[in-house]
């Protein structure tokens, strides 16, 4: 048999087998992570008109309960927080959202200490791959160095981006041994992008172990400015927030908080943006409201959403009594 025929046979059969094996796994994996999928579907494929869009990291989607915001502010809001998301994700969510949806009136952007660097990059980019029909999303991903041509032509190769843990879950799910364990349950609330933690709470005096320097890259500052310019073009009012953390634990674990907060405060001042820092609220001293040092638990999210709704109300409806 000629070597070329052998090579072609290997490529063809291996490709076919990979497609047959990997496609159901990939599909199951996206179902397994279905809360993320539902959020991404709404952002990148939906067309609904929302007044308020919340963008941030897990400290946003675990903390801001749109039902409470809407009930107090009379708005229709959506929580587009991204797990471990940084500024690149925030821009990607905004760009992707604006591709199909009407522009929101207000963008509430939660900027974390780790939003401006690449060091904290444990983020899971493949979550966006099924939505690359959204041209804004696709061009952002290409700009960030992702090879979208391969993913478009061979979608089953998305399997190469999943770790063993997710593959194991998918195999168990396909065998009927597992359920969609990250789906809605009695423990948590899932509502318009919001996914609460459970009622679990931390112990008092949780120890902060690691102290690290949060990086701020030039690219991330440029990305933030591009987002603000885009909001300006679409006449979107921007609000910066800083989500609650237990006893300033994230700040105590960082060596350069002044530079990060300084950057955010200066950008807010320069662009006439309201900056709401919620790290010194009374609730930040109550361990019963925190799932871990940096994330609220279910009860904490409800309490915080009430506080945030009142703060936002004064910005959204200045005529109705709040006032800035």
């Amino acid at each position: 048999m000629s070597p070329i025929i052998k090579i072609c046979a290997v490529l063809f059969i291996a490709g076919l087998l990979s497609w047959l094996i990997d496609t159901p796994l990939v599909n199951t994996l996206y179902k397994y992570k279905y809360i993320v999928s539902a959020r991404n579907e709404e952002i990148f494929e939906g067309k609904k008109d929302y007044d308020v869009l919340f963008i941030g990291s897990s400290r946003t989607y675990r903390s801001v309960y749109p039902k409470i915001i809407d009930s107090i502010c009379g708005t229709n809001s959506y929580n587009a927080g991204v797990e471990s998301g940084g500024i690149d994700d925030f821009k990607l969510m905004l760009d992707g959202y604006l591709q199909n949806h009407p522009a929101p009136k207000v963008l509430v952007l939660t900027l974390d200490l780790f939003s401006f660097g690449k060091d904290y990059d444990v983020h899971f980019y493949p979550q966006y791959y099924p939505y690359i029909n959204n041209q804004a999303l696709k061009s952002d991903l290409i700009e960030y160095g992702h090879n979208m041509n391969v993913i478009e032509k061979f979608p089953f190769l998305m399997i190469t981006y999943f770790d063993d843990y997710l593959k194991e879950r998918a195999i168990r799910f396909l065998r009927g041994l597992d359920t969609l364990s990250t789906g809605p349950s009695a423990d948590i609330i899932v509502y318009k992008g919001f996914e609460s933690n459970s009622d679990f709470h931390i112990k008092q005096n949780e120890i902060v172990k690691v102290r690290e320097r949060m990086s701020i890259t030039k690219e991330s500052i440029r990305t933030l400015n591009e987002m603000l310019e885009e909001c300006n073009r679409h006449k979107i009012k921007v609000v910066f927030t800083y989500a609650p953390e237990y006893n300033h634990s994230l700040q105590r674990a960082s060596t350069n908080i002044d530079s990060v907060f300084g950057l955010i405060a200066n950008t807010a001042k320069k662009n006439n943006i309201r900056y709401i820092r919620d790290d010194s609220l009374e609730i930040c001293k109550d361990p019963m409201l925190f799932f871990n040092n940096t994330h609220l638990n279910k009860q904490g999210a409800i309490v915080y959403s009430l506080i945030l709704a009142k703060e936002l109300n004064s910005i959204l409806l200045p005529g109705k009594g709040g006032g800035e």
Binding site: S2, I4, K6, D22, I159, T160, Y165
Partner: protein, 440 residues
């Protein structure tokens, strides 16, 4: 360890020095030849000394100075990064001038061909460390496209990718977590991590060699064999004849023989072996852990040689005894890897102590959370970490080193390649991770 564009000048510096030295060494005779050989070796070793060993030397000198309370005379550290593959291409360059000096190789007049010898991309960063006699003449020959070379090369590359992406990088997750903070783990976790590292380093390095040899083969070039199933060795001497062959033969040909080899008194010959292994340890990295690793192997090999020389003890040549000696050799090699992988000497001794004392103050857990990337090392990962090395070792025991014996069995060849390709796509770890030996 990094690729920094400006560092390309280091490569050019050594290429120019060695190119000129080679021509002069061939032309001249007597003392002048030796002088140029020494100049060439000094230039190469000097580059290594500055970029790889200076800070190690400075830190240790400063520690001594500090202990003697003469703090005002501390040696300043250099703010430099080790260029990628430095130890490999400097050794390859040195082998050229030494061979020209010994009259085994003609000096290369074509500057482009000599540069290619040092910079040939498949083996530039992690070997095999080639000899001029094997490689230089190939650059002057015509290489027509050969579909057989393409198949042989691709198959070997595929095998290398399986070892690297499916086995080495998966085991690395477990090893990195445990070795990051060994004090927090049960002795069984430490044993598993050490055994995993033993397999990881083989798959990582021999995987790279397979990819390099395969890539060269596609273009029609034959690189030397670097690994010959080392974990099937029945004694430590055999292990060193099969592990990183291009480096161990380099040390044998250019260091061991140069300092007298075994043509001296018995005591001196043993000292020569010790020197070679200690230098080999230091070649791997400027750290006491690597020197200790070299020292461990010195002890192993000298013990083996002493037993062989002074006793009549000989194992019967049966399957059981071969297996027993193979397992014992594997365990000794694995034990020495503890020093190679540990973050520092303190950690290495802590690991040995915890294993020896069956440390169990922390509970044993088979699966692990990964502290660094937050990826859990779960049951699937454990299963693959056991099954895939077993598959690899069984396959390697039945296949020739370059897998070319598959050519005569087309169906088996196709099935084998399909299986590997599907496994790589399905279970490969595709996060950015470099080859371990790139740092050397």
């Amino acid at each position: 360890m990094a690729f920094i564009p400006i560092y390309i000048f280091i490569l050019f510096f050594t290429i120019i020095i060695d190119y000129i030295a080679g021509i002069i060494i061939e032309r001249e005779s007597g003392r002048k030849r030796k002088l140029f050989l020494i100049a060439s070796i000094c230039a190469n070793v000097g580059v290594l000394a500055i970029f790889k060993y200076f800070n190690f030397f400075a830190v240790n000198v400063n520690a001594i100075i500090s202990a003697l309370y003469i703090t005002s005379h501390a040696v300043p550290l250099l703010n430099i990064i080790l260029p990628i593959g430095l130890s490999f291409h400097t050794f390859q360059a040195m082998s050229y001038t030494i061979e020209v000096y010994r009259g085994h190789q003609k000096a290369e007049r074509h500057f482009g061909i000599y540069s290619l010898y040092v910079m040939f991309y498949p083996q530039l960063v992690a070997g095999p460390i080639e000899r001029p006699q094997n490689l230089l003449h190939q650059f002057k020959e015509k290489h027509d496209f050969s579909s057989q070379n393409l198949l042989d090369g691709l198959r070997l590359m595929l095998w290398g990718f399986l070892k690297k992406l499916v086995i080495a990088d998966r085991l690395a997750i477990y090893v990195n977590v445990v070795y990051h903070s060994p004090k927090d783990y049960h002795y069984l976790n430490l044993i598993i991590a050490t055994l995993f590292f033993t397999i990881q380093i083989y798959c990582d390095f021999s995987g790279y060699s397979d990819i390099a040899i395969g890539a060269a083969k596609i273009m029609g070039f034959n690189l030397m064999t670097n690994f010959n199933h080392p974990y099937f060795s029945k004694n430590i001497r055999e292990f060193w004849e099969r592990w990183h062959i291009s480096l161990s033969t380099w040390f044998r040909d250019y260091l061991y023989i140069s300092i007298g080899g075994n043509r001296v008194s018995m005591g001196r010959a043993y000292l020569n072996i010790a020197v070679v292994f200690l230098v080999s340890g230091l070649w791997h990295g400027a750290n006491w852990t690597f020197i200790m690793w070299g020292a461990m192997h010195t002890v192993f090999i000298l013990t083996y040689m002493l037993i062989k020389q002074f006793t009549k003890f000989k194992l019967p040549n049966s399957f059981f005894y071969n297996l027993l000696s193979g397992v014992l050799t594997f365990l000794l090699v694995a034990f020495a890897w503890i020093f190679f992988r540990a973050n520092n000497i303190h950690d290495a001794f802590l690991i040995i102590n915890h294993i020896a004392t069956f440390y169990s103050k922390v509970p044993y857990e088979m699966t692990l959370p990964d502290l660094i990337t937050k990826v859990e090392f779960g049951r699937l990962a454990i299963l693959l970490s056991i099954l895939m090395p077993v598959f690899m070792f069984i396959s390697e025991s039945q296949l020739s080193i370059n897998l070319t014996n598959l050519n005569s069995k087309p169906i088996k060849d196709i099935a084998f390649c399909i299986f590997i390709l599907v496994i790589i796509v399905l279970f490969g770890i595709f996060q950015n991770s470099s080859f371990i030996y790139f740092q050397f």
